[in-house]
Symmetry: C2
Subunit: 586 residues, 2 copies
């Protein structure tokens, strides 16, 4: 098998200009979805219309909206409203806010979202988490009990910052920051938040009046047992019945997805039954607390209530920023729901003032229990232990320390993992798959065949300052190991082939390191060959004159080409035998 002159050429063409690559990298980093592609090559008038539709999607769909779609939306709106009323009241309770605020929050944001929004998700989990996050952060400074008005204003201010942050992130296309909240972190965060929110509901479920403002498991359980004289068994009985009912409807839906509407209207049924019960049975006299005081009508704008006092600013800012990140995936429903909610606010609000707190606690607990994703955690454990760790750190951090600390620990661990990935890229030894020109990992494909005198290594990506010392040590170790395996003498390594197909990026330290590896190997009389450097890598190698140092003849487009060239030089140097030894991989 002689070397054919038909080996395929590596492209040593001029590198692209810096401006070109810089522009393309910025685009990949900030605009991966290429939102402006649709505006290209259009007339200015059409372009303006498309831009308007892009930023305010209602203009895109309103023109094709018809009566049939409206009928479906009315049905959907009623269902969602029946969910939103108890949710609104419950989450307001969670954030220590007057219940009416919760109802407003189900009315104004959906309207805004219907005009500007583009996604169609309805994420219950993060809403609850955000409610608790805001109250937890603000109450470190001012509690709702001590100064309800100031507290309310600070919460408004925090949500104002949340909005500002989210708008800014959206305009600056910095969604990339949110990419660093991994699936595992969110699973752990949801589970942990669900646990601490459930624990908070013990107050309502047991009819207690004194409680703690802390959220960690130990403080809450301590408070629950410290004030156990306040427990009301009547309250607990009612609460457990409601909870059982809600969990049962959830179970029904799991068994038969067609019955989803049962679990959808279960919360409003709980509220209505609770109201009737409280009204008819004068439940208050048994110590079952009710929401109370829900004025009918729409409230005025709360813009003048924003509080930028420097004393409270760090707390409102912190609450706003953390909430902004957590809530970034969150979105709401539609105009119809907003209209129904407005009707409720205008005419029905007083009715809900009889809602027993215990019913709300049961609704929240039931929703939260559904958020603990045991299956996902088990799945993570089976597939990826480190992902499981990240998930558990978040879960236990949230339940035992606090929501923000848990979140940060988990994100920190996930980042550390990403950095470790960069610091220790995987390399492997390649062997030839019989009857093919394919070279694959000898560990993964034990049948692959090694070629005597030639060591083929596949390098992991990227080759960066953080891993080039490692890479050098690792390559030298591969060579040592190989020479140890075949210490018969005849079989020493004379060629090392580095497959760079998978290396999508390299920096200056990486290139210096490759030069150093080349020097070390030259001293051992081993020749290095580089296979298929990708475009970014090749450009830097040309610019830094690395290609000239190594020699352009040592670059190959495929492993097969390189192996043939090396075999040819081995034959010429060593033996007249035209067929080199082939030994099976260890």
């Amino acid at each position: 098998m002689a070397v054919t002159s038909s080996t395929h050429k590596v492209n040593f063409g001029d590198p692209r200009k810096f401006v070109t690559t810089f522009k393309s990298k910025c685009k990949e980093t900030l605009f991966p979805d290429d939102p402006f592609a649709q505006f290209k090559n259009e007339k200015p008038s059409l372009r303006a219309r498309k831009a308007l539709q892009y930023f305010i999607p209602i203009f895109e769909w309103i023109s094709t909206y018809d009566f049939k779609m409206f009928r479906y939306d009315v049905l959907a709106g009623i269902t969602i409203t029946s969910l939103a009323i108890p949710q609104g009241i419950s989450y307001a309770k969670l954030a220590d806010l007057p219940p009416i605020i919760g109802l407003y929050s189900s009315f104004v944001p959906p309207l805004i979202y219907a005009i500007f929004g583009s996604s169609k998700h309805l994420a219950v989990g993060t809403v609850a988490a955000c409610s608790l996050l805001i109250s937890e952060t603000i109450e470190r400074k001012v509690t709702a009990k001590d100064d309800p008005t100031l507290y309310l204003h600070l919460v408004f201010t925090a949500t104002f910052f949340t909005g500002i942050l989210q708008t800014a992130l959206g305009f600056l296309r910095l969604g990339i920051i949110v990419d660093f909240l991994s699936h595992s972190t969110i699973t752990g965060f949801m589970g942990g938040t669900a646990i601490i929110i459930c624990l908070q509901q013990l107050k309502g479920l047991l009819g207690m009046k004194t409680f703690t403002h802390k959220t960690d498991v130990i403080s809450v359980l301590h408070a629950v047992f410290k004030y156990r004289k306040e427990w009301k068994w009547e309250c607990a009985v009612v609460g457990i019945i409601f909870l059982a009912f809600l969990q049962f409807t959830r179970f029904l839906r799991q068994r038969n997805p067609k019955l989803f509407w049962v679990s959808a209207i279960a919360p409003i049924i709980t509220v209505i039954v609770g109201c009737l019960f409280a009204y008819l049975a004068k439940a208050e006299s048994f110590g079952i607390q009710i929401v109370g005081n829900l004025k009918r009508g729409l409230n005025p704008s709360s813009l003048h209530l924003l509080n930028f006092d420097p004393e409270y600013l760090p707390f409102t800012l912190k609450a706003g920023i953390i909430t902004g990140f957590v809530a970034l995936a969150t979105a709401m429903s539609n105009i119809v729901m907003a209209i129904f909610m407005m009707l409720v606010l205008l005419f029905l609000a007083p009715v809900f003032s009889y809602t027993p707190l215990v019913a709300l606690s049961a609704i929240i607990m039931s929703a939260m229990l559904g958020l603990i994703d045991y299956d996902e955690a088990i799945h993570l454990f089976k597939v990826d232990k480190l992902d499981f760790c990240i998930c558990m750190v978040c879960f236990f951090g949230v339940t035992f320390i606090s929501m923000d600390v848990g979140l940060m620990l988990s994100v920190g661990l996930a980042l550390l993992r990403a950095l470790l990935y960069v610091a220790r890229p995987a390399t492997c030894k390649l062997g030839k798959i019989p009857d093919s020109e394919l070279y694959r990992d000898t560990e993964q494909y034990p049948g692959s065949i090694l070629i005597s005198g030639i060591l083929v290594l596949q390098l992991g990506s990227p080759i960066y300052f953080a891993n080039c010392n490692y890479l050098r040590e690792r390559i030298l170790r591969w060579i040592r190991d190989e020479e140890k395996l075949s210490d018969s003498g005849s079989n020493t390594i004379e060629h090392v082939l580095l497959d760079l197909s998978g290396v999508s990026s390299i920096d200056m330290t990486g290139i210096s390191s490759l030069s150093e590896i080349n020097r070390i190997l030259e001293a051992k009389r081993i020749k290095i060959s580089l296979i298929n450097p990708r475009i970014d890598v090749m450009e830097k190698m040309i610019l830094s004159k690395f290609t000239d140092i190594i020699g352009k003849e040592r670059f190959f487009l495929s492993i097969e080409d390189a192996v043939e060239a090396c075999r040819f030089s081995l034959q010429r140097d060593q033996k007249p035998d035209p067929l080199p030894d082939i030994s099976a991989a260890s």
Copy 2:
């Protein structure tokens, strides 16, 4: 061209056990150089001896040491001593320490290093940087002028912590942390430090008595001109003559590397000439300050001088830790030098008390000017603009703010780059190189050929939570772009081939994302095929049942195999023509 049954099989074997992969990953992360390989398969007695030699290298080389080597070492020792005397005094001055301490530091550490050390470098730069770093950090709390004894003790304590940190890092094999100091950061740091150290020497060069404790360019220049009445022209003239002499010897060495000894002994000549000049010309009366007060003899142990007072602890700890990291690459010379230095301390120390400060300033400035690596900075600018940025951030951070801030900003930027790499892995479209079975980037190899109806994408590594949203958007964009290019109708994409050869790692979020991509493409009637997943990726795909969801028949070992299978299904579905269209890449 019909599908042959000889396509090569993908390995769907059982994943390795968690313990196995965990062990191997720990080994790769902490022991990449495999230091224990030499102990394997040895007798216990031999193993103990090898371990002793590994930890205390002197046992390894002392047995082969002979008289000839000793003769060379005596020569080297004399040369290095002549360098170490002025350096020791100068760096002590830089750290605001009594000059005698600097001489001791050239005597004890090399002895310890000769016994325990393994490297043979002599890094002047980091020693100077460490001297300044320690004084800068400690003087934020206590200045050498106000309380020399306390200051001295705090410096001892800081160096003690430096030693503890370095020992701990060594034993815990956490050199990985130092991997994150990139070549560019170090180039910038050295340059910046050289500038601020030179600026500090203006005090000595101009014979000033009042000066600032700050190190940034603006403060120092401000101080230099504020106290310009203290300038001594006699001093400046002497200083400039010394500096010119030192720079000239450096220039000689550059021209003719054989004259290296001239530049090596130049500093001691400067000191000797300076001493003679000061002694004979009574230089002090002209306002040329001298070192003064150098007692002869060896000082007692300074262990009892360590100061762990909580008031100063944060400063000594900080100084110790930063210095520990910066100095980690640093190493020193050998026993002979230590012996010569001991002789100097025992008999010659008083002689050096006549050294004029201006001579020391000239020596430091000359050494520092050699550390500014203009060529490297220009090289970085040409090859990698981001590396150049990292270098410049460090340089300007050090010169205009402070050494630790500059270092942290630069490391932060380098880490951000590594994270961005993980967040935005490069993907590219592959085409077939004519007359081969190779598929390469169509941008890099414009002659490569696209196959109608089939889109081949090479994915970057890793597929992680931080990039899987990006990956989805990017793949969908490749498909949109492709369909736009060929809107003739007949040429729509029916198969997407994802080449995973370069993907060395995937996490759970990544696998869910691949499932999602599969769902989206199925809805568009596009079939997905996966090519050559590597061992770690394959194992997670099997464990998470992803292989079953996609179908094992959609996995291929090479692009060629996958393309043939897709072509076969295209032919069967669409047209009787046995040869599919082939169109050149755009």
